[in-house]
Amino acid sequence: MAKESLSPNECRDMLLAVADKIIESEPILTDADRALGDGDHGIGMERGMKAVKEKLEGQDFDSIDKPFTTMGMAMMSSMGGASGAVFGTLFRAGGKALAEAESLGAAQVAAFFTAAAEGVQKRGGAKPGDKTMVDALVPAAEKAEEMKSESLATAIAAVAEAAEAGKVASEDLIATMGRAKTLGERSLGKPDAGAVSVSIIVATMSDYVAS
């Protein structure tokens, strides 16, 4: 039975599921980044998610923004580098947009992804089309806005599909940001590793809501 909305502690559990899934996906992320970057994205995300688990596990939350912002700070502190800043900003900026909310429904999913996409673009300077995580995150945010009057499960499933489609579309882009920009046209045919991470994060959120 899909969940109608999530309490603060259910948000925590959803994010713990995301952390486990990313840790499990480390070889996939490492391979994706080795093709285009310096191959450290998988290890960095794994380190970040282990820190997230330490911060979230066993902690009770009384508002829904805190599990997200706590996750963002844990990633920033433990990962360093550009990916720590960018993925930390995703959860920190998205979480801040939930400060007034008591539970997570489709409207809050929209608020989260819209603020996350804005925050990440402002922080990193990447635009859609630069072959970065933004190419999965921006379509996800746009879909979330479109679906904000739907049920939580319907909305988050559509957001996950949009992120996945964005990741696949990034294969046809030429990198202009980050380490992969040095590859130019050689970056064609493979997805951006950060976009792969975004698609895994949103798919895991959707699976949690559906379960």
Binding site: M73, M76, S77, S78, M79, G80, G81, A82, S83, G84, A85, V86, G88, T89, R123, G124, G125, M177, G178, T182
Partner: protein
């Protein structure tokens, strides 16, 4: 065969090297927070200077903390920017109530993490400004300086700004000075073979054994071209010409002309020897002399490195009276020390 490295746990390399660096300072510097260091006695109300970046490029940046140099450094893991909380801890340690200037190389990861660190510091009412170092002329044209990388030019820049920070009355004043030091400093590097990443033993980049990377960055970022290996006397003019051309093309600064005075820095990326640096230095001086450009002072040595990478860079800083005065001040640190004045002064 991978390069032999004298280390312990490969994942603790950055932490342990900073611990060792603090020991080298023998009490003049203290270890701060997770992985920063700061001068022990920073005067009240001093406009503070904070530098930093990824580790693995020793003796910079953290080796530039010292007397009349930087007040502190935020240190990242090997080749990775320091996370925002490390930047914040370093900022808190050097802040003496009159603002903190961040001065570091223009790399995306560093900019994002220092910017978040600055936002966290501002939430604690610490006034922060940032001046980015972008001296690598091969990394983007002069109209796109925001895309340029920071390389060896950071040594004269931090030396000059550190000197100016001793008497700066305000953060505004130091920021203005730092921008001038950056604008006046230009570098070109060449890489001959890669260093290796301590945790994996893997090379930082691949290059044909018979080729060298003209303008290649210190992590193997692409430059102008891969060219066949050359002699010191062939390569030195090619590299200096790229610097001269950049001063000519850049509308924000005058071309280098007869009678101008410069600092000359000849840097090794790691395993290129002092013997090779001196041979290149000899040619560089000959070229500067022919153009009537006066070499006010010289820095030579392996100061901005990438492990056992081999390669060389030249940096020129065009001087005016204000910059010369800052240069003349003595300074002392693990990375770079000098007496009052200059060689030949």
């Amino acid at each position: 065969m991978s390069h032999k490295k004298l280390i312990n746990d490969p994942l603790k390399v950055a932490d342990e090297l900073v611990e060792g660096l603090v020991e080298a300072y023998n009490g003049d510097c203290v270890h701060v927070g997770q992985r920063s260091l700061a001068l022990k006695n920073i005067p009240d109300n001093k406009v503070a200077l904070l530098v930093g970046g990824g580790s693995g490029h020793e003796p910079i940046y953290h080796g530039l903390v010292g007397k009349n140099l930087a007040d502190g450094a935020a240190c990242g893991d090997i080749f990775a920017a320091p996370p925002p909380d490390i930047v914040l801890e370093a900022t808190q340690a050097v802040n003496k109530g009159n603002g903190v200037l961040y001065l570091y190389g223009n790399y995306a990861g560093d900019v994002m993490n220092f910017d978040i660190g600055a936002e966290l510091a501002e939430e604690e009412d610490i006034d922060v400004r940032t001046v980015l170092i972008w001296d690598d002329v091969c990394s983007a044209p002069p109209t796109q300086k925001e895309n340029r990388r920071g390389i060896a030019g950071l040594v004269p820049i931090v030396k000059l700004v550190g000197a100016a920070s001793q008497s700066a009355q305000s953060l505004d004043e130091l920021e203005t000075f730092a921008k001038k030091a950056v604008l006046n400093t230009r570098s070109v590097g060449v890489s001959m073979s890669p260093g290796s990443i301590p945790a994996t033993g893997k090379p930082t980049f691949d290059i044909d054994p018979d080729k060298i990377g003209l303008g290649m960055g210190i992590h193997g970022e692409p430059g102008v071209a891969e060219i066949p290996m050359k002699s010191a006397d062939e390569l030195t003019p090619m590299m200096l010409d790229l610097i001269f051309e950049d001063y000519e093309k850049d509308e924000e600064i005058d071309a280098l002309a007869e009678g101008d005075e410069v600092l000359l820095f000849v840097n090794s990326l790691g395993s290129t020897t002092m013997m090779e640096l001196l041979i290149a230095l000899r040619k560089a001086r000959e070229i500067l002399n022919e153009k009537g450009i006066k070499t006010y002072d010289v820095i030579v040595g392996p100061l901005v490195t990438c492990q056992e990478m081999s390669g060389i860079s030249f940096s020129l800083t065009k001087l005016d009276d204000e910059l010369k005065k800052a240069w003349d001040l003595p300074c002392q640190s693990v990375c770079f020390s000098k007496m009052e004045g200059r060689y030949g002064g």
